[in-house]
Assembly symmetry: C2
Homo-oligomer: 265 residues x 2
DNA sequence: ATCCGGGTAATTGCATACAGTATGTCGTCT
DNA sequence: AGACGACATACTGTATGCAATTACCCGGAT
């Protein structure tokens, strides 16, 4: 049953965040085990992306598990048995455990001592709180983006907007979600605040997990609001950008609850 | 050299966040390995805290490492060799590795594939960004707290305030930092948003790491601002609470930079 | 002298083995 | 029949072993 081994590499080796493969600018640190790193002056300018590091298995496992959770193969509340995951992914328990550690701190699974990992089971209250936090972070990011966006950035924003509208017209739910994520991610990057952008990244990913089911009906309004937002950013209108983003995320939050209400009836 | 083994248990077994030792309300999950849990009707009402779970070593290691980082035993940029840490803490490499995973996602260390863990080396820019995000989160939390605080809560706030002022008078830097953390943590809990509170918790802890050196000079003003903030919360004045917190965190941020400027001269 | 090369030591990454703990089941006693 | 208790099983937690990669060191060539 370990067909997935290849799959794993073929599919999810886009080592996105974290796990920095770069070598730091050789800072001479005080304590340390002993300076083992020599200084190599040249080549410092070009931001050359080091190719093909031996991407650790834990990274691949981590991403594979998120994928399995998001697409509901692993359902909330499910007990994740380490050896099962390991066999399924064709690795040993070790990288699985390391991935689980990371998944825990990011809220995807809960680790119960001596009992193991369980796919996180979000309550409606928690989802609401997450959406609330998301609103605050996104608003801040929108304001900063409005301050700093260049015309080229705005150009890119419009392109992302078009992609989203196209997906909307094509009823491409998958594409819609992706486009939405891309737009918000780009704005967060425009903010120039890396810490903020990373935080939004993880929060949004979780939001998307809870929220995917309602992406469709909200689509129309959402992308109109996106257009408004881009306009505000283009005009560097900080207040407007912040206000629109607050409303935008607020409506998303509301849509979530309405959908919940329907789902329970 | 493994005297630290006892230390480790004696000192840092206050399993704070995460690692939920509670047994969930027995949700019947669809997939799962198979329902192994029986239902026990009685005793369900009383919220009895299950005592003394076998706290995993990784948890203790995690906390020990944070302590070592915060108190500068492990200096930023330092290469953390797994077997050294393991020997020092009196455990094997395994729990160390798991702790490092978690430390990475929370920004304490950087993991470079095939090279190991390095204590995170914060740039001034990053510290600024973190302080910026902190301001936003804390402001949100202050507003929510103002909405919901009961007179009893306000009472507690004043007690925390007194503790801080006392530490200030006694020139107790350690106590000052602790009191400050306690006050902010309490407010974040008052917000009623658990997700927000947790996020503030981790952000604040990192801020404290960067910021501890300047806690003293800023102390006086900070605690005056705290008093203002509590007043606003007591009057349930949401706008004022938010504004004061924004200013408060903004000043902290400014103080950080001024201190940096001094340090570099 | 500097740059390039091979060789060596050190360290990570992964796998496996063992021990401890919790759960489920069956039998027995009241 | 219900409840308690011992046994068996499954899974996690921890330790150890092995292979692969990396960084360092030193000698030789340019």
């Amino acid at each position: 049953m370990n067909f997935a081994y290849n799959n794993l590499y073929a599919e999810s080796i886009h080592l996105t965040d974290r796990e920095v493969p770069v070598n730091q600018p050789a800072v001479p640190f005080p304590g340390g085990t002993g300076g083992r790193r020599g200084s190599r002056a040249a080549l410092s300018g070009a931001a050359a992306k080091r190719v093909e590091r031996p991407a650790p298995l834990r990274q691949a496992v981590y991403e594979a598990l998120i994928e399995l959770i998001v697409n509901r193969t692993l359902v909330p509340g499910q007990h994740l048995v380490e050896v099962e995951l390991a066999e399924y992914l064709g690795v040993s328990r070790q990288p699985v455990r390391e991935a689980l550690q990371r998944l825990q701190t990011e809220g995807w699974v809960d680790l119960r001592p001596a009992q193991g990992a369980f796919v996180h089971l979000p309550t409606e209250e928690e989802a609401d709180q997450l959406l609330s936090v998301r609103g605050v972070l996104e608003t801040h990011s929108a304001r900063l983006a409005a301050e700093r966006a260049t015309p080229e950035d705005v150009e890119q924003l419009w392109e992302l907007q078009e992609a989203g509208v196209a997906a909307l017209a094509a009823e491409d739910v998958e594409g819609l979600v992706t486009a939405n994520a891309a737009l918000h991610a780009f704005i967060s990057r425009l903010s120039g605040n890396t810490v903020l952008a990373e935080m939004i990244g993880t929060v949004d990913r979780r939001v998307r997990w809870y929220y995917t089911p309602i992406a469709r009906p909200r689509g129309n309004d959402a992308w109109n609001e996106h257009a408004e937002l881009i306009k505000a950013i283009a005009e560097q209108d900080v207040e407007a950008a912040g206000r629109i983003m607050t409303e935008h995320t607020g409506r998303t939050r509301q849509a979530y609850h309405e959908r919940q209400a329907v789902a329970e009836s």
